[in-house]
């Protein structure tokens, strides 16, 4: 590959990484908050308690601001495969295009049509039908995640296809849509979305509790969010662990890199803190604190099992696929993995602590807990990003594991100048919009919920239209 082509491929990777990480800042909020708001509106519909109506509207506004950016940055993702990864698109289109097209037709339509009805339809629809519209949005966004993850899981672990006519062709959509890699990733991502929403509601409630604003309302919201966080946190760590075991069988090189395990060990020790030289393909760790036997146990529940290392898989892949470097960047995988796990575990502990405070009726007075809950909101977004870095960078040098290398997948028709131009454009526009979005959400949060209805008034409808 010429130097110019290599630069085009490299810039295309940066652009894809930046635009998809940015897009995935909004996706978990849409999924998690969609469910949360649907739950609140259901509670209001059932109990007719005004506090649920007020919380639905207040958190609904945050959901709406977020959905706008989520939708428009999502279009970029669908265009980019063809724009920057034309060779990839030709090779995988027969398989990969199907879940993408189904996502649009079955899920994205549902979400996008019903969000309009939910925001603007309160006065024109019966309360029951209006409640159904927010559930349609929530279900649409969940199905959307399922189909996109089906496409992504196929890149991690290609199934239900055959190689023919110089490309991959589908043999079974059913196998693609039901493989373990997809089901476990879906459960993990759903749980992560729930944690993200829980952390968001907790942070917003903590802000108002600290300001002594609407204490009763936000103490209630905080309690709900802590339960949500605990359930989501336990679920995300459990599915994360099971996924780790699956990946160690399906993509052993990725897991070995995530553990910085260079040499095969029997029994294998779990690394707690390792330093690998700052180079693209280091061959050993410089410093490593380990716990004996633990990696063996975590990998397959046996204390003395063998776990193959990076060097072993490098030799295996060279035998299978020819000369080349099949190691991902070890430090990125190792630290993404550890930080993600640390954040997930932290939230289980944080939610437990919060619920203990609730039980002792001390949540509203625990200023330190509340104050710390606000900056903690950054962590789920970081954990979501680390998770995707591990999943995508751990697969390198492959774009489709074992079938197509990333360096062979880019568009030949696109010049390096063109990619540099669009990369700069996306970064500029995305930074600007992120700043505006953050400012808008903060101003909605600070504004707080609308005052309750007067004594003689009927409880309000869900009024979200501008």
């Amino acid at each position: 590959m010429s130097a110019l082509a290599a630069t085009t491929a490299e810039l295309s990777r940066w652009q894809f990484a930046i635009t998809i990480i940015y897009h995935f800042l909004f996706v978990p909020i849409t999924i998690g908050m969609g469910l949360f708001v649907a739950g609140l509106q259901t509670a209001w519909y059932r109990t007719k308690q005004e506090r649920y109506q007020r919380l639905t509207v207040f958190f609904g506004k945050i959901l709406i601001i977020n959905i706008a950016l989520g939708v428009v940055t999502g279009i970029v993702q669908e265009f980019q495969f063809g724009m920057n990864w034309a060779t990839y698109s030709r090779y995988v289109g027969d398989v990969f295009g199907a879940p993408l097209a189904i996502e649009g037709l079955v899920a994205f339509f549902l979400e996008s049509v019903f969000i309009g009805l939910w925001i603007f339809g309160a006065e024109r629809l019966s309360p029951r039908v209006h409640l159904a519209t927010i559930w349609a949005v929530a279900i649409g966004s969940i199905m959307s995640a399922y189909f996109i993850l089906a496409a992504n899981s196929w890149m991690q672990h290609p199934v239900g296809y055959r190689k023919v006519n110089g490309r991959a062709e589908m043999t079974s959509l059913w196998v693609i849509m039901t493989q373990a890699n997809l089901l476990e990733a879906f459960a993990h991502v759903m749980s992560a979305a729930v944690v993200t929403a829980g952390a968001l509601v907790l942070a917003v409630s903590a802000y108002h509790l600290l300001k002594k604003n609407e204490v009763e309302l936000f103490a209630h919201a905080a309690q709900i969010s802590l339960v949500v966080l605990l359930i989501g946190g336990i679920s995300v760590t459990t599915w994360g662990h099971l996924q780790g075991q699956l990946v160690s069988r399906e993509q052993p090189m990725k897991m070995a890199a995530a553990e910085a395990l260079f040499k095969t060990e029997k029994p294998a020790s779990l690394s707690l803190f390792a330093i690998t030289p700052f180079e693209k393909y280091p061959s050993k760790t410089d410093f490593n604190i380990t716990v004996p036997h633990l990696l063996s146990f975590l990998t397959d529940w046996h204390w003395n099992s063998k776990v193959e290392g990076i060097n072993y898989w490098q030799r295996q892949y060279q035998k299978e696929y020819g000369a080349g470097n099949y190691k991902p960047i070890v430090a990125v995988n190792y630290w993404s993995f550890r930080l993600m796990v640390a954040i997930g575990t932290l939230f289980v502990g944080w939610a437990t602590l919060g619920l203990w405070l609730v039980r002792r009726r001390r949540l509203e007075q625990s200023r330190r807990f509340l104050r710390l809950s606000i900056p903690l909101l950054a962590l789920p977004f970081l954990a979501n990003t680390f998770g995707w870095l591990l999943r995508e960078m751990g697969r390198q040098p492959w774009v489709v594991e074992g079938l197509l290398k990333t360096s062979d997948a880019f568009s030949h028709a696109v010049s390096v100048q063109a990619v540099a131009f669009t990369l700069a454009g996306f970064v500029l526009v995305y930074t600007l919009l992120a700043a505006i979005e953050t400012w808008l959400v903060v101003s909605v949060v600070k504004g707080g919920p609308a005052p309750p209805a007067g004594e003689d008034e009927q409880p309000k409808q869900i009024e979200l239209g501008y």
């Binding site: 279009i75 060779t87 549902l110 063109a418």
Partner: protein
């Protein structure tokens, strides 16, 4: 490779055409409303009413584009790959415009400051006009031809995408969507806003019809043999022209619904004329090659047969499309029924609990 129109490739070619027709009819009036919003809405209340006609529906309308793109990816991977990588900068500009337009519609109302609103209104106007122009340019290039090499890759430069025919196509779609949007606004509003929308529709119909006719004539004259396909495309183009003229008369007679149906059908028949004329190609190449005897022929066209997915994928996806497209059509149509009430810009309904209200229904 060759094959019959009565094949899965033919079916998917029709499906892609239907998806584009749906997208251009629906987002076409979104574009028109967006472009004209500052001209037809003179003050804040009127602009609320103007944008209020598309606020609840623009999101769902844009999904037609996502599905058209996704269906092309699944059914014709080579078409998708060559088109999107070849027209790289054009698609980038469309994306940026759609991003700004989408967030602008949502964000404009979040703050009352004049400067804030003006800035987002500008984003709505440009974010509507730019893609309205660039879609016309893109379709013109698809059928007129750009350089494509023997690997089926675009081999031209940026300037190859901005030829005279393509630019005329861009202006034709820009004017057509502006007209379509004005007719839609006349249907969906009342009072002063409606009166002004009708005035704009009347002013826009001449440039729209003239530009669309010009691109039809250029296309017809530029193509080679006059065969059955040529005649079918010409008939459809003729229908589109008649419908455009008809819609003007209907606007004059206050038949807003019929006028809108006429412009929507005019867009559908234009898209149909385009796809009939394009078949069996999906991307026309302008690369020419002379043979030993000096005959020059066009080479490297992408056709439905050379760019399609396998029989298995096409058949499976056909079942999915046949099940779910009617469902989508039902609930999307229902949305338009829910939001059927005309909006007006001069009534000031009681301020809502949460930062004002949209243009409220009067019926």
């Amino acid at each position: 490779m060759n094959g019959s129109f009565l094949s899965l490739q033919g079916f998917w070619f029709v499906v892609i055409g239907v998806l584009w027709a749906g997208y251009l009819v629906l987002e076409g009036f979104d574009f028109g409303v967006g472009m004209l919003m500052r001209l037809i809405g003179r003050d804040d209340a009127e602009r609320k009413a103007v944008i209020g006609t598309i606020e609840p529906v623009w999101d769902g309308n844009e999904v037609w584009l996502i599905v058209a793109g996704g269906a092309t990816f699944a059914a014709f991977p080579n078409w998708y790959a060559t088109l999107f990588s070849g027209y790289y900068i054009v698609f980038f500009l469309i994306l940026i415009a759609l991003i700004f337009r989408g967030v602008a519609i949502e964000y404009r109302v979040k703050r009352p400051e004049r400067r804030w609103r003006s800035a987002w209104e500008l984003a709505i106007v440009l974010g509507s006009a730019v893609p309205a122009f660039l879609w016309g340019l893109t379709f013109a290039n698809i059928i007129h031809g750009v350089p494509i090499d023997s690997h089926g890759e675009f081999s031209g430069g940026l300037l190859d995408l901005f030829g005279g025919y393509a630019i005329l196509g861009g202006f034709a779609s820009l004017a057509l969507f502006a007209f379509h949007g004005a007719v839609f606004l006349a249907l969906r509003t009342t009072g002063e806003v409606r009166r002004r929308a009708k005035a704009f529709a009347i002013r826009l119909v001449v440039p729209a019809a003239a530009l669309v006719l010009a691109i039809f004539i250029w296309s017809g004259a530029g193509s080679g043999a006059i065969d059955g396909k040529w005649i079918a495309a010409a008939l459809l183009a003729g229908v589109a022209s008649v419908l455009l003229t008809l819609s003007l008369g209907l606007v004059f007679r206050d038949r807003d619904g019929a006028a809108f149906a006429a412009t929507a059908l005019a867009i559908c028949s234009s898209v149909a004329a385009f796809f009939v004329a394009l078949y069996p190609n999906v991307l026309v190449s302008s690369t020419r090659q002379g043979n030993f005897f000096g005959t020059v022929t066009t080479v490297n066209n992408l056709t439905v047969f050379s760019s399609s997915s396998s029989h298995h994928t096409l058949a499976l996806m056909a079942i999915v499309a046949l099940i779910f497209t009617p469902i989508v059509l039902v609930y999307q149509t229902w949305t338009y029924w829910v939001f059927r009430a005309r909006l007006r810009g001069d009534s000031l309904p009681g301020e809502k609990l949460l930062g004002g209200s949209d243009g409220r229904p009067t019926s």
